[in-house]
Amino acid sequence: MVNWQYSESIESREILDIKSKYTNYIGGKFVEPNSKKYIDTISPSTEEVLSQIAISNQNDVNKAVKAAKSGFEIWSSLAPYERSKYLFKLARLIQERSREFAVLESLDGGKPIKESRDFDIPQVAANFFYFAGWADKIDLSWSTKGLKPHGVVGQIIPWNFPLLMLAWKVAPALATGNTVVLKPAETTSLTALLFAEICDQAGLPNGVVNIITGDGTTGSLIVNHQDINKIAFTGSTQVGKLIQKSLAGREVGLTLELGGKAANIVYEDAAIDQAVEGVVNGIFFNQGHVCCAGSRLLIQESVHDQFISKLEKRMQALRVGNPLDKNTDIGAINSKEQLNKITNLVDEGVADGGNIFQTECELPGNGFWFKPTLFTDVQPSYSIAREEIFGPVLTTLTFRTPDEAVEIANNTEYGLSAGVWTEKGSKILWTADRLEAGVVWANTFNKFDPASPFGGYKESGFGREGGRHGLLSYLKESS
């Protein structure tokens, strides 16, 4: 047998021109933060300082909301057809600069270039294209009475799909005539700030898109601002609850896309090899930093041993390393904080009595890394079976009957997504009907499309993003 040597294929960073410091983008201008405060933003794969971003204070938030308010006057009085054209233009510009976005996303966030290049950024453009076409068809979207925009929307997004989450938020908000104040996560703000340049390039009217950076404190200043008409948040259930509480008694719209602990159910009559592929994609996509990740593998007892042995073999083939290497399957964990959280939960799983399997692979010296991990012999009460780990860690439970599978799958406060694997059509539909989850992937997992609504049941939040249903998150009935 030939002993092939591994040969890396590194995506060049030359396309990027990262500034040493980024300011806020307010009212169509790049402006220094009133706070005068900046923090370093690093690459999680090398810990190299890439740039600095602003930490915005109350004055900065005031300025951004004010700009969005005056932007709303212009934007909402534009002919819908004109709004549509602006969104088409943004979509095209994103396509044109897509490689730049992809490299920056992988560098700043740690995700493999093949994901940012082939998934994140193409989906970003697709979302702007999709909602561009809705802008002048809102009256056709729902047979309800006169829908109108909320006004100024505050949007707070997470670090796992930085630019894609921006697109999920900004595209429908703008298509429906709202203006936005968006805050990206503090570890992954760079692509949002590059997007600000694109807004400038597209000649978007001033104040329609405002991007301010900062940490959770800045986020709560946005939530508590008196002139905000709606908040859209994607992030943890814990923070989502705090936001819902802050808005209590106030006439502010709210949509929440929160955590998950998705069950991925494998029935004994599944196509096992396909299911193994799907389960791997379900949990190891984007280092498992996915709210809808298939983190609870539910296997029917009769195929458990066979499935686990194939799964371990497949996991061993996953390549962990430099996100800019085009061969990389699993990149860096987004931050030290997240790495600690994953490590602690995994330690707890071992202490509880779970049987751990980790792939044999060399991890780079610098940066934040975690080996692909699989737990078997897990009890439903273990924290690794209940809490969202948000990392490359899969927990396995077993079941005997379809009823039991559904019961275990629904036995969680979350309800974002679920997976079903079987070759029997009737069983898919029976199971899908009973799963309390906003998205059910049958014989597939982690598929996304701008036309497909996404969002959760129960404590995974409310409201939908994407599709015709996603429009309702940014519209209210005129009274």
Binding site: S143, T144, K245, G249, A437, P453, G467
Partner: protein, 275 residues
Amino acid sequence: MIEIKKTYKNYVGGKYVRSESGKTYTKELKNEFYELPLTSKKDIRDAVTSSKDGFKKWSSTTPYLRMQILYRLSEMIEGNKESYVELLMHHGLTKQKANKDIDKSIQNIVWFAGLADKWEQLAGNLNPVSEEYFNISHQNPIGVVFSLSGSNVSLNELLMSILPALTVGCSVISYSEENSVVALKFAEDINNSDFPSGSLNILSGKFENILNDVSKHVEINLVALHKELDNNGLKSIEENASESVKRVFSQPSIEGLSSILPYLETKTVWHPKGT
């Protein structure tokens, strides 16, 4: 001859029950004093248990049958029209207004009955995803709904706080304060219309007594307030609700398709196409 006075009771799990607390509040109608159940925290918990069971039964009833059961409700009310008109007049409504209220009630029940097997076609759709997948968004009823009815004495207003949720398959705990005599009488027609027990529970009392219990109860999936509350009341409800990401709708729309949207969860199912 002495007229026989009716004893009004809560309606829970298909049975007429007094408050377990034994407490009542008094309502005077036509020189008679009626002792109405003052719902307690324990009564709410019992109602939720019953509603969870009712939800299982009602949501798995076919749309065709749900439609017929709702239509049967309109038949019941039509048959008892005079007694409703009389009761509303005892509350001080003119005969004309009372008649109009009942006519509108019947009309609305028939409208929602006819929606029971159509709303999924209006609220769901196939999604044109750009890969070889079948992708459909359809709806599930959200679960157990607590609905606070308005302060007017009116059968129609009571119905509009119940019908949208019931039509899509939610179970409803309907709570009335000022409108409670009408609500508790209405329970009799629900009881005669083949609704599965627990699909609709009807309670009376002072909302302030149970506001916290309702908004904190994790097995109530949605709180619909069809009555204007003072800002502190609304604030505490929404704060409590945030602990379990509970949905709260203040003065939800009661018109057309918009009326049912709050009670739905959208589920999107993907499946690959291939040979």
